[in-house]
Amino acid sequence: MTLSIAGVAARPKSVPPKQARKLKLPLRWISPIALVLLWQLASSTGVLSPDKLASPVTIAESAGELIADGQLGDAFAVSITRVFFGFLLGGLVGVVLGLASGLSRWGETLLDPPVQMLRTLPHLGLIPLFILWFGIGEEPKLALVASGVAFPLYLNLHAGIRQTDPGLVEAAKVLGYSRFERIVHVVLPSAVPQTLVGLRIAFGTAWLSLIVAEQINADAGLGFLINNAREFLRTDVVVVGLVVYALLGLTTDALVRLLERRVLRWQKR
């Protein structure tokens, strides 16, 4: 009896009442909106010159124009294609190597040492080599994105597989699972949460790699849009490009979260 009373009493403390939550969200918008207003004020009064940073209103107008004349759409398509194929390539390498070294002792002995050594290299620092190897076309950009994706996926998949509870594997052995069933039903599912962490990190580095790669030399894509705008002191277009990068990163992050919620339904929440 005492227990249930305590349980009821504790509730309002841990879960905020609905009204408070409703109020809280709009309240959090006060300072960001104030900052944008301040920024607009500084631009309108001439304190902030458009050569340094365009005003919010100008940026919004430019975004509208860039969308209307198709420039932004084209750049967007080019950049997202680069990330897509770079991610595909790096993901394939990371997953294949991660599975090989996670599931087989020989795989681990042979693969893990070189991968662990290579991952200490800052992959963005590889640009000079990639340019020498692949030139300045699409290839170095894909290679940079791929190398940013492969390592976090490999590391987390490998760690996830190695963290499998040996107790579950033992139980499965006695209960008559085949080796294949042990991998499919015990080892791989237990590696999923850690692999999803790797996937989120991989998306983060993929966008970062793309942004850096598109600074090198690009004749299309969001990086080209931004670099081109810089030459004409169009800070409004630069900011539009940056905002699109940010939105893309947020989108892939949200997608992985969605995937997590779906795949990890079995976890206690």
Partner: protein
């Protein structure tokens, strides 16, 4: 008739430490045997060897028939539904039907489609028992399956295990450090100490046994474990 379990001169050492020291043990088909001892006496090691999880041993340990096991922790796959946990590894096309029938025996049919992490400790342990029994084992190994449960749930589980044993009649090897549990359930109690079987007790009391009926024998078993029970206490 062939023995369900036959162990001769079984010795197991981890480095310099001898955990099992020349164990001889035979279990009849359908017999309920309890392995009783303090933690570290080697009882769980013996069970692991019989389950085929540890093959680096000296001596002989033979289990001719099929073996199944339930551990102290239920060890269910949290990412597979309850019924799937039971059906996996059975390799039967009617896996779900078989699993549902097994769940009925432990009175958990309602939870067939639940995720294991939503079950209570007692419920998860019942699923683990159903999973072990659905394999119709000749030998059922129970490694302190009630150890992590609260006292009330444990009592209910004792009855359940006895019921299931009477219905399916596998040979059972129950590892425990609970004297009452051993006396309530087992035909024969083996007391293990430092890797040797130091005493054997036959329990001929009628079933179902009540606590009061085992009190007299309890004192003798406890004496073998080196526990002196004063009448005053």
């Amino acid at each position: 008739m062939a023995k369900a379990v036959s162990v001769r001169g079984l010795t197991k050492a981890f480095g310099p430490r001898t955990v099992l020291d020349g164990i001889d043990l035979e279990v009849e088909p359908g017999e309920f045997v309890a392995l009783l001892g303090r933690s570290g006496c080697g009882k769980s090691t013996l069970l692991r060897i019989l389950a085929g999880l540890d093959r680096e041993v000296q001596g002989r340990a033979e289990v001719p028939g099929t073996v199944s096991i339930a551990f102290q922790q239920p060890r269910l796959l949290p990412w597979r539904k309850v019924w799937k946990n039971i059906a996996l590894g059975l390799h039967r096309p009617d896996g779900r039907a078989v699993a549902l029938k097994a769940l009925e025996e432990v009175r958990l049919t309602d939870h067939a489609d639940a995720w294991p992490l939503t079950l209570s400790g007692g419920e998860a342990q019942r699923v683990s028992l159903a999973r072990a029994l659905v394999r119709e084992p000749d030998v059922l190994l129970l490694d302190e399956p009630f150890g992590a449960l609260d006292a009330l749930t444990r009592l209910a589980m004792h009855h359940l295990v006895e019921d299931l044993w009477i219905r399916h009649k596998p040979a059972v090897l129950l590892v425990t450090h609970d004297v009452d549990e051993a006396l309530l359930l087992a035909d024969r109690i083996l007391v293990l100490d430092e890797g040797r079987i130091v005493a054997t007790h036959h329990v001929d009391l009628p079933r179902p046994r009540r606590r009061a009926s085992v009190v007299e024998q309890r004192t003798r078993v406890l004496a073998d474990l080196g526990v002196d029970v004063e009448e005053a206490a």
